[in-house]
Symmetry: D2
Subunit: 408 residues, 4 copies
Amino acid sequence: MREQSVALCRPLLPEDTVMQPMLDVSPPKWHLAHTTWFWEMMLLREYQPGYTVFHPDYAFLFNSYYNSLGSRVNRADRGTLSRPPLADVYAYRAAVDAAMQQLLDQAADTLPPLFWELFELGLQHEQQHQELLATDIKYILSTSPLAPAYFNEELKIKTAAAPQATWLPVSGGMHRLGFAGEGFCFDNELPRHDTYVADFELQNRLVTNAEYLEFMAAGGYTDFRYWLGEGWDLAQEQGWQAPLYWVQHEGQWHRFTHYGLQPVNLAAPVTHVSFYEADAYAQWQGARLPTEQEWEIAARQFRPDPAAGTFLESGQLDPQPLPANADPTQCHQLLGDAWEWTHSAYHPYPGYQRAAGALGEYNGKFMVSQLVLRGGSCATPESHIRLTYRNFFHPDKRWQFTGIRLAR
Amino acid sequence: MREQSVALCRPLLPEDTVMQPMLDVSPPKWHLAHTTWFWEMMLLREYQPGYTVFHPDYAFLFNSYYNSLGSRVNRADRGTLSRPPLADVYAYRAAVDAAMQQLLDQAADTLPPLFWELFELGLQHEQQHQELLATDIKYILSTSPLAPAYFNEELKIKTAAAPQATWLPVSGGMHRLGFAGEGFCFDNELPRHDTYVADFELQNRLVTNAEYLEFMAAGGYTDFRYWLGEGWDLAQEQGWQAPLYWVQHEGQWHRFTHYGLQPVNLAAPVTHVSFYEADAYAQWQGARLPTEQEWEIAARQFRPDPAAGTFLESGQLDPQPLPANADPTQCHQLLGDAWEWTHSAYHPYPGYQRAAGALGEYNGKFMVSQLVLRGGSCATPESHIRLTYRNFFHPDKRWQFTGIRLAR
Amino acid sequence: MREQSVALCRPLLPEDTVMQPMLDVSPPKWHLAHTTWFWEMMLLREYQPGYTVFHPDYAFLFNSYYNSLGSRVNRADRGTLSRPPLADVYAYRAAVDAAMQQLLDQAADTLPPLFWELFELGLQHEQQHQELLATDIKYILSTSPLAPAYFNEELKIKTAAAPQATWLPVSGGMHRLGFAGEGFCFDNELPRHDTYVADFELQNRLVTNAEYLEFMAAGGYTDFRYWLGEGWDLAQEQGWQAPLYWVQHEGQWHRFTHYGLQPVNLAAPVTHVSFYEADAYAQWQGARLPTEQEWEIAARQFRPDPAAGTFLESGQLDPQPLPANADPTQCHQLLGDAWEWTHSAYHPYPGYQRAAGALGEYNGKFMVSQLVLRGGSCATPESHIRLTYRNFFHPDKRWQFTGIRLAR
Amino acid sequence: MREQSVALCRPLLPEDTVMQPMLDVSPPKWHLAHTTWFWEMMLLREYQPGYTVFHPDYAFLFNSYYNSLGSRVNRADRGTLSRPPLADVYAYRAAVDAAMQQLLDQAADTLPPLFWELFELGLQHEQQHQELLATDIKYILSTSPLAPAYFNEELKIKTAAAPQATWLPVSGGMHRLGFAGEGFCFDNELPRHDTYVADFELQNRLVTNAEYLEFMAAGGYTDFRYWLGEGWDLAQEQGWQAPLYWVQHEGQWHRFTHYGLQPVNLAAPVTHVSFYEADAYAQWQGARLPTEQEWEIAARQFRPDPAAGTFLESGQLDPQPLPANADPTQCHQLLGDAWEWTHSAYHPYPGYQRAAGALGEYNGKFMVSQLVLRGGSCATPESHIRLTYRNFFHPDKRWQFTGIRLAR
């Protein structure tokens, strides 16, 4: 699993790995170091007797946002870290991996339950940064006037038109939501709790680029009536006319992708839209976005097959069209391909408790001003996602693989 | 009702009425004109045949945020409107009032239902701006180094200590929420819908200044563990050490009020706190803020007596302490005194529909990034508030009379 | 002289007198109070035994930039001073004038020379603020969408075309510059010193609006080759296409003036141009701006008649065209009408000494990053100007009556 | 000469070469590419028939500020150029060098005079960027919390105290200034022209760190009376307490240098001060900064020996103390070690003409808002400097090796 982070950075030059072209994006070298810092600070420092940190300054350099763990480089200054060199960060990774291996070899039997909790969290944390690596690298390369491709191979586009979307009825009533059972979950998926929703309908697939182009052609970006006020103001101020990464090229819409600049694939799900755009699209359609409760209830009912989704492991880093012959009575693309904006604030579940110490800063302190997204994307590791998984972003964010599913 | 707006401005100088010391605050002269513009644009222009507008430029000058009604002065530039003079705005008010009176005298019997809907909305709209007048005037006067008092008379402080707060159990289960019955409500209180909540407890009164001072003394503003991340960052950046309007004066905390600078009244409810501060206080207490559903369920159960609350009509513009002998089994201060932050996002109720035209911009377009507040304040007209009323502000706002009630 | 400041504000509403629509502009009420503060702080407080200040807070409220005299309201916050009311400021003026009168009546014979220096400085200082009152009022009224006129009467435009400009030769060589003789001068006009310049030519009048329109028509605002780099960048960023206050109205260029919006008078001198525009115009003409040394040498040679210039006392507040029959061998408009940008930095003369105390902050601390302007404008009191007078502004400023004279 | 640019970057990692930690600093990779672009655009494209550019996008990527040569990457975005890789930029340099060599080999005899002018300009331009490489690299490394050293070897500090400064009289009168004779000069050193200055005195060496520490100890950074107004405001806003790169470390002042963090060498000239600090120091001393005319007159009189100065070629990148036995009747350190702020605006000399085309953008368009510096520094190539050389920076800049010499 640790190797996956390194693999993602292999196509990059050292020069690429230090870039921070906007505040949300972290330099890849920083991701490689910060994930390693997590293992060192949370596990080795605590559980390996006599452990000496790899470098005394790294605690400061590679802390992300843990006030519990001391001061740190400002987020906005991560792009000024030319040093330590990328090579040193790889050495840091190797040293920490070796120390972890040694710890596991020597003491696996005697390590306490909290160690194993943190161990699992370290894995999950690394996976989250793998998704960020994929999306941050895309953004970094996109800012280059040279529009360089991350992948050497050609993008193979499946051009068969997506099947017409259908509306699937979902039964409301009382439902028990949140994580249950064996295995890992984040604290924000807990506790399991009861909720009531009315009956509703959900579309059986994600909104496609073809559908979104219709919205654009119908003046979606120039008619304030579809928009939330602050979304409209932002769209005007920044001159939005299409999703992030879309550019007109010789009269045709193209997208910047990990394969360089590519024509928009009409059949594929639209991505890189903000919540504002997703909501405006839904308004234009006379529909709405689902709540996270509705999404989870539908997902539990339709039991999606993870194997059908596009995840990080596929190495495609691009959402895939639904096959033309997909079953219209089934709900597709719930897992993978694109994160689905819900119209639910990222707030604590009833009865939620923040953990003590640094862990308490992992999720709880972000529970305001953000919206929940569900289902994972083509940049999410498949083993990382669950039906109860709650991702969250501010409504203006567009650099993740964020898409749209309609409800009514 | 229209006279109340004028009465609120009577203690002001013309110089006061043009000030916009921060973006959230509008100049009192603008409030006086904008509320009049509402009657002219929404009713007279539509329903009075041959009506000629008072001044051709006012449609542009005094539109607030209605894209449907054309372009307008930028919100940030309201403080540059030295002209028209205050006297002209009073003349504008008189002319529009006279035209409305004439219309009602002549045509009350034949006016269609939509007219009466807009008429009611005009009254409600004016009341909302009366609350804003009270709070914006307070902010404007507070920015003067002279700290001038709005009221000439002395503030009479009730100093009896507030009774100890009690926890009141509230039964959860299925509840039907939202407005029902005769009379006016805003579209955001509709439709009536079912919801489920678990059993919970609510404190029987608002948090007092005395209690909030304990939080401050215990390091509430210097310990990140109690805070939401973006609240902590903001508090650090702006150097928050107390609620808005609090200053140390000769070693004692004072507040700027409509009566000038006054000692903090320990028994009175704390106000002028942001959501971040309210939430941090609750965390420090090992409690939490209620959701808006919990608040409404409790309010329906305890049936507060509006006569017991402090409203605009009392002319006090300051929240009042709960009498020491208040019934500990009753839930007090639900209506009036201070708006209560809830931990609920201001999102549409299930089944909510935006109205068409300009009315559709009244509430619906603000349904993102804000939090619901309930119950009204000492600056709210008593006839304006309801148990189902949903107010909303961004979590950083402090210039309204916003307070705290704990749940668990 | 003191009455002139009040007279300038007489056409204003109280609402107008508190506006600060940009940082360079101060509210008229502030000017009225600050000039009074100067008399109180510099003279009464020092020379009138037992003098009690009018209001203890005014020392803080109405200090402009004198660090020697304590802290003060930030310049950017002058527009938040709704209080004290305009009426109080007039009372302040009356009280300080009365106290000054009393002091002069009682002690004129015994006051020391420094008093009389400060007395003269107080008069000069008040005149400087009278010019600022005229230009700040113009800017304030211009920001109103109602474009209100300051004067009630009509603007009488002399439309006779200006005579063709001629080039006047001026002998260079050694010249002694700076103030000499009786009467008042500012410290920045001293000491008298020798300078050498080569022979040069100067145009015999200011550049007219007609000539400037040719520059505009020839693409002056779209060809970077005429511009200084930082001027070009600013012009692009702010979308400059004409001098400040110029707007297209029904296909014709108009200017906002103290008489409201008026057609551009082709024969009148162009004003409200920045140094960048003045320099670009000169480049386009294949000429240049004079240095301040050249300007003063030419002025000494041509001995302009002040009576021929337009000054504040004329009550016109608009530069006037040169009569068609003006003598082509004479140098016109050197005094009054429009300040003339020179290509000289506002630096100390050789041997310049800053005064001690607050007076040392009057001029010396501004001697960097600004350019010298010479000759006074239609808003300058006639008795205030001299051939050696050095005004100074940053190169981007346009709200003063700034014009262009060519040299080569 | 071209090799020198590469040599300066040899100690850097690829990660270092893309950093732009502030607007004034350009990434080293950009410097390497831009200097190459200059040869390609100005010479090869014009004079080598059939020349094909190395890469079609480089004209856009590596233009600095030449509007004549088309659009370009915004200065603020130079730090986002991860691509092309450093290796490609080295290949670009090699290809352009080879093409230049070929052109010279084939056509040296037939190339027109303008070619040779541009050839000389290309060399001078490259040298200017070598100085910027040295200072930008220093700034980039200084922003790293690891404070990495550029040089591997130890800094050898000459600790002998500097000799007491003496005042040298210089005869004023008429002087002919500006470049004359054979060899290269920039257009801003022309034309040769007469000027008059009064007699003055100049200190015989640069101000030392020891002297500057006295200024600091005497409250130089906390007493507004020594400061120009806008310098004082900036110093307060940014919290200046010492020159750039100075930090307190274990109770002693250290400087960040190309050798990492080093104790302040008392005997060495103070550097990395802004014009504001230089001027405040002079005020505190009761002296002043020289004008550029005075500096040049003195330099012509004292005929400094370039061999005595510290230049880029010495490989020290740190100004050196004056030997204790230096002749007190001679004027030392005029060339090399530190640029000397003059109190002269960077304006055109009398009779200055901007060149046509791109060359006209080299110097002329910067002639406003900046101050002249004279004499070169320890980062200037020795063959690049002349007594008539005019460097220029805004008064707030501190990242160059800028120092102080007093006049009176």
